[in-house]
């Protein structure tokens, strides 16, 4: 037989659990008068509610700060584009005015142009990365097969790689611009880091109950499992495939796009055995 007083305390505890489950952290149970098991449970729930509330508040603040940082990165990158373009034009004019007689000056100009191009690539990468994180994903039916062929054609992928598509890729609802960025970055990544005379890329999509799993496999140098998470970070490049021409934004952009769309990406790879980038795309 439950004491009527205990019955009320148990009901209060059940209410409290309901509040915590619905992320309402305003309720606090009375404690301290009995110093028994029910008091201990009530106190534990109070402390749990307090801690969860602090975590939620911290998460919201963090999201807000991240949002501001991404917008700042976008604005800065956008503002940097214009002077960099002007600089490219000025370097071209300088190159023409110097003429062929001054080879040393021409060499310096060529180096400056390379540095300038690298800066432009970096700025464009930051822009793409920023947009990936705060773009509202508007879905439309995307024919991944056609999209892949289009990207390969535009980027002349066939010049530097043999691409094999296993079966026909599906048509799935996704944002087309975002899908293009995913495909472009994954192909670019495989080609850029290839250590073979001819890069080979195999692309397939396996159906599951609610989603497809796309797989981009290459015959590159492979990546040590300790770096599998790291390579998706911004500005991260890992040994032994570090490339001076890369700015380390592409995979971070891909991950950002997919996570914003509620999808996942991961890597299966071992050094010397190539790499397979696998990502999900929902059927609905």
């Amino acid at each position: 037989m439950v004491d009527p007083g205990d019955d009320k305390r148990l009901n209060d505890i059940l209410d409290m659990i309901g509040c915590i489950a619905s992320l309402d952290f305003s309720k606090e149970l009375p404690t301290g008068s009995h110093n028994d098991m029910l008091d201990a449970i009530a106190l534990g729930l109070n402390m749990l509610s307090e801690e969860l509330n602090a975590q939620v508040v911290n998460r919201e603040k963090l999201d807000e700060v991240n949002g501001k940082l991404e917008k700042f990165a976008y604005t800065t990158a956008h503002d940097l584009k214009s002077p960099l373009n002007s600089q490219s034009g000025l370097l071209q004019l300088l190159e023409m005015s110097v003429g062929n007689n001054n080879q040393e000056a021409l060499e310096y100009i060529t180096k400056l142009k390379l540095v300038n191009e690298r800066m432009k690539t970096l700025v464009e990468g930051i822009l793409a990365y920023s947009v990936a994180h705060f773009r509202d994903i508007i879905k439309e039916p995307v024919d991944w097969n056609a999209l892949l062929l289009e990207v390969m054609e535009v980027d002349s992928v066939f010049k530097s790689a043999d691409v094999v598509i296993v079966d026909t890729l599906p048509v799935l609802p996704f944002n087309k611009v975002a899908a293009t960025q995913i495909v472009r970055n994954l192909l670019d990544n495989a080609i850029k880091y290839s250590d073979k005379t001819r890069c080979k890329i195999t692309i397939g999509a396996e159906p599951f109950e609610n989603h497809y799993q796309f797989c981009f496999s290459d015959n590159g140098p492979g990546i040590d499992p300790v770096n599998h998470e790291k390579i998706f970070g911004l500005f991260n490049q890992v040994e032994p495939s570090f490339k001076a021409s890369s700015v380390g934004i592409g995979l971070a952009t891909v991950k950002g796009i997919l996570e914003t769309a509620g999808e996942r990406i991961w890597l299966q790879s071992k050094p010397g055995e190539g790499a397979s980038f696998i990502f999900t795309v929902s059927k609905t």
């Binding site: 404690t31 301290g32 110093n35 008091d39 201990a40 449970i41 106190l43 109070n46 402390m47 602090a54």
Partner: protein, 131 residues
């Protein structure tokens, strides 16, 4: 050496272990926590000593107070800490403190003062440092 506040009794014995014990039905706030650390630091003369902290009479400890006790200021004052939990409420507080707040100094829960004192008198082991 003995001191006390409205909520806590402090005793530094000849074994150089500081013992703290609260008065019945104590609610510990951040102000109480900071005052406790200040008094303790004065008693140990800023040389870190082991602490035997009896939570039996504590009925509530605020979140910021728990954070304070798990933080660097408290870790500077005490080399290790044995928390005595003899009832369900103090056990919950102790478990939260260990599990969520993760104190910087070696800290363990005990149901008897004797066991706590025995552990405090042992030389520090690597496992204690990461406990």
């Amino acid at each position: 050496m003995y001191r006390e506040t409205q909520k806590i009794k402090f005793t530094l014995g000849p074994d150089m272990i500081l013992r703290t014990e609260c008065f019945p039905d104590t609610v510990m706030t951040l102000v109480d926590g900071k005052e406790s650390t200040r008094i303790s630091a004065e008693m140990v003369n800023d040389v870190p000593l082991p602490l035997l902290c009896d939570l039996t009479n504590v009925v509530k400890m605020s979140q910021d107070c728990r954070r304070h006790f798990s933080g660097p200021e408290h870790a500077k004052t005490f080399s290790k800490c044995a928390l005595i939990v003899t009832n369900p409420v103090s056990r919950v507080i102790g478990n939260f403190f260990l599990g969520l707040n993760k104190p910087l100094k070696p800290t363990r829960l005990f149901t008897s003062r004797e066991e706590g004192l025995w552990w405090l008198k042992q030389k520090e082991h690597v496992t204690d440092l990461i406990a």
